[in-house]
Symmetry: C2
Subunit: 266 residues, 2 copies
């Protein structure tokens, strides 16, 4: 895989679902994003999406992230994976409708974690899909874990793992805010977007970032930043952009300037 090709695009769960509902898909946004991805003409692309109001309620109810403690959780593991495949199916249908040659890869079918970190990843199919110019689509998922029995693998951990593994040119993180702020914009009116951050600034910020009030089993913005750090350390630039705003994803994929936060090593 040549360095100048691959983009790993993350679509946050809050962009494609309404976190206040239960299994409430934002179908218009899903369709809009699929059309924007198609229109951008991005040739080498991996998409990863989050769980939002599909994966999180089941995962929390059955404490899947914490691991296997009693057998009543087993049906919760089944359910969490199944609702994620349902959300994935909605995105896949739109991508295919817009002629994006997308192929879903179920993380729980080929990845096993150890204490929540990817320890086994059979990426043979993804390698070959990329060679054939297909667009693999993965998602945050309930996966087996060698220590905990099972756990939750976040889309953010997946993004970093895929970007490093396939030597991506860049990572694009589509969220439902305009970028990374220097304070919590919900409580501080003076909060401003950080348009550019290097690794040192990012690490400094890490301690200051406040956790979001909304509950999120995969971690909020803080967890996201922690997960993305290794990619930045591998010199893979990361752009955080508001994917809920029309045209942003198309523009950023085309390499055009968009409001957001660019994280780069240097």
């Amino acid at each position: 895989m040549r360095k100048h090709e691959l983009t790993v695009l993350k679509i946050g769960g809050s962009v494609i679902t309404d976190k206040n509902g239960k299994m409430a898909a934002r179908t218009k946004d899903i369709d809009r994003l699929a059309e924007e991805i198609h229109r951008s003409g991005t040739q080498s692309l991996i998409i990863v999406h989050g769980g939002g109001s599909f994966g999180h309620p089941s995962a929390q109810k059955y404490r899947i992230k914490e691991g296997f403690e009693d057998s009543s959780q087993k049906i919760g593991f089944s359910e969490t994976h199944n609702v994620m495949t349902m959300l994935n199916g909605l995105l896949m249908a739109c991508l295919i409708e817009h002629k994006v040659p997308a192929v879903s890869i179920a993380p729980s079918s080929c990845i096993i974690t150890e204490n929540g970190r990817i320890s086994h990843f059979d990426d043979s199919v993804i390698i070959n899909l990329l060679k054939m110019s297909f667009t693999p689509v993965l998602y945050g998922d309930a996966v087996l874990d060698t220590k905990r029995g099972f756990t939750i693998l976040s889309g953010d951990q997946l993004v970093t793992s895929l970007a490093i593994r396939f030597n991506a040119e860049r990572i694009v993180i589509g969220v439902d805010v305009n970028g990374l702020y220097d304070a919590d914009p919900k409580t501080e009116r003076t909060a401003r977007i950080l348009s550019h951050l290097n690794l040192e600034e990012l690490k400094e910020l890490q301690g200051q970032l406040c956790k979001p009030k909304s509950c999120d089993v995969t971690g909020g913005m803080l967890g996201k930043i922690v997960e993305l750090l290794p990619a930045a350390e591998h010199c893979i630039p990361i752009t955080l952009v508001n994917a809920s705003k029309p045209e942003n994803i198309c523009r950023v994929l085309e390499g055009k300037k968009v409001e957001g936060t660019l994280i780069a090593k240097g």
Copy 2:
């Protein structure tokens, strides 16, 4: 895995879909089968299902089985896999509703074929799911192929591969007929069910079997038998039973006698 445990259950595409429609799921039958599987109390179980009117129309339209010939087929590969995940999702939802701890394994995420035969199969997740008494559910799928680019992996090839790999105690094949006939029951009124066949008789019959008139990209009954032969040679008994008839699957899983065809080596 102890020999006396595992059952590999195939549910034919024609049992859970109407092959005369397009993406016409037999939802009542899917729910009934899920309830029967639950009620049978089978502890160690792998389920494999076919594609019926979900997978076959796309697979045929785009000639997926024949392999990659031109780029217009790519969206067909995406579509074929996607409709299979949709059919799988209907079964998964019913299994989980009936408290079967079922976890779907996407064959195209962990299997690659060479000229249509499984050549790479990362079964790590299935091994661990079985250890934890989950029920892995697989299906006929569009998969990548090292020689053809891509192809169709039939549920029948998967059944045999899984049964041999995990040293299954038995295979149950749920179809929409009462068993294997000595002639085509649709054209010959004297056709009778063969209630018991050994390997030699099966091989003899192979040449005589007529291909079904209905088109089936994974092969009809003849293809099914050819795919199952290696399992019979590994001394894994195979029961063909009519899964469209209520109670048959529950009874056969419970080890009770049911009309059908038993294929055994000796």
